[in-house]
């Protein structure tokens, strides 16, 4: 069934169109919305697009890094200043999907997708959204908890503090190599100050309906040196607060069994 496509060169106009029509869906790279259309999703009657250049911008020069919602994973991989994000970007899809899929769209990707969002969550990212009541920034964590209700708002960009690349770690566990859907995805930002972790952020994908912070793990790491005892304590806390589900890639039981193992490997820098 044909749908109405509304294209705007201005993000604000696209946001207004999106918030004025409940059934409208925003089309980014197409890997989610076109897929739904191909599957025969008749709930989509209107597609809204924005070709605003501001949404394709990467600003990695200041103390905060800002990535426009329309930036593709291929663009991230071409950005030398964002080397620490290359592992999560490369773990997504094949080359075609990386040429299409966007950072903004990834925030809405259901399990087993959304790996990049796990990385952003560990970077303490905020999301700039434009709704009918104007624009605002919100913490990614908060955004994800209410993701289903964000339909009427347009994501403009994500931003996070510039970090020292070596303090960031990422691991995606997949059964199919080189590329497969996530069994679980782990990301950690572990800044070290005088030999101790200060400001630990650990995020898990596929361990709950949306990517979530592993707060018990963060508590086990905070203020400690990253030694064997700390790593063991963090691994023991890995399942706390999680609610994984079953899917074709793995069962909830399996995910609970392996998350501590992979967290230990992530923290101890094993391949």
């Amino acid at each position: 069934m044909p749908v109405i496509v509304k294209s705007f060169t201005n993000a604000g106009e696209a946001a207004a169109a999106l918030s004025s029509e409940r059934e409208a869906r925003y089309l980014g790279g197409g890997t989610l919305v076109m897929r739904a259309l191909n599957e025969g999703d008749i709930s989509i009657s209107t597609i809204v697009r924005a070709t605003d250049a501001a949404m394709t911008r990467i600003d990695a020069t200041g103390s905060r890094v800002t990535i426009g919602a329309s930036v593709t994973f291929a663009r991230i991989l071409a950005e030398r200043d964002l080397a620490f994000l290359h592992a999560p970007a490369r773990s997504i899809g094949g080359p075609a999907v990386r040429n299409m899929g966007t950072v903004g769209g990834n925030l809405f990707a259901p399990i087993p997708y959304g790996d990049f969002t796990v990385a952003l969550l560990a970077l303490d990212a905020t999301v700039a959204i434009q709704g009918s009541f104007g624009g605002r920034d919100m913490p990614l964590d908060e955004f994800l908890q209410a993701r289903e209700r964000q339909g009427g708002a347009l994501v403009l960009s994500v931003s996070f503090p510039r970090i020292a690349g070596e303090s960031f770690r990422y691991r995606k566990v997949a059964r199919i190599q080189p590329k497969g859907g996530s069994v679980i995805t782990l990301a950690a930002h572990l800044p070290v100050s005088s030999g101790r972790i200060a400001g630990a952020r650990v995020a898990l994908g596929s361990m709950a309906p949306v990517p979530t912070r592993a707060r018990a793990v963060e508590r086990a790491l905070e203020g400690r040196a990253l030694d064997a005892a700390t790593i063991a304590a963090a691994a023991a806390a890995a399942t706390e607060g999680t609610s994984p589900g079953d899917n074709a890639l793995a069962s909830a039981w399996y995910r609970r069994e392996i998350v501590g193992v992979h967290l230990r490997r992530l923290l101890s820098g094993q391949e």
Binding site: V5, M34, R35, E39, A74, G94, P95, V97, N99, M100
Partner: protein, 159 residues
Amino acid sequence: MSKIPLQFRHNGREVAIFVDGGTNLLVALRELIGDMTPKFGCGQGGCGACSVLIDGALHLSCLTLAETVAGRSVETLDGIKQGPQLHPLQRAFMENFAAQCGYCTPGMLMAAKALLDRNPQPSRAEVVEAISGNICRCTGYEPIINAVLAAASGGRASA
């Protein structure tokens, strides 16, 4: 609902068609232009059979909204040979038995072309990565990887 006029470059030739809102590029190519080389596999972005190059970059035509290619250049397998001359990749696929049922082959060739166009001498790992979004259920991938490497080294020999 009115049709949307759409103009773009298809294998070096300007084309003008009318599409319905929401039509994907694969449907536009196959049903409106008659280029049957990109295949419909999954419609979900999982198989790569519909892969085409848009402005030189590999895209999945089934997940591309047709009207977004307005004014851009779309290259499909149909455009890579020159007259009766097969493209070096096509020849290498033939010589290395890289096609069995052939359904994944157009997508594989376009993914391989996207790689060789920017990296004429890829490593084996780079070839594996380049075709990682393309599924083949016949060959077990080895003949395909070998064919891409052969095409790359063949190009080097003749250069």
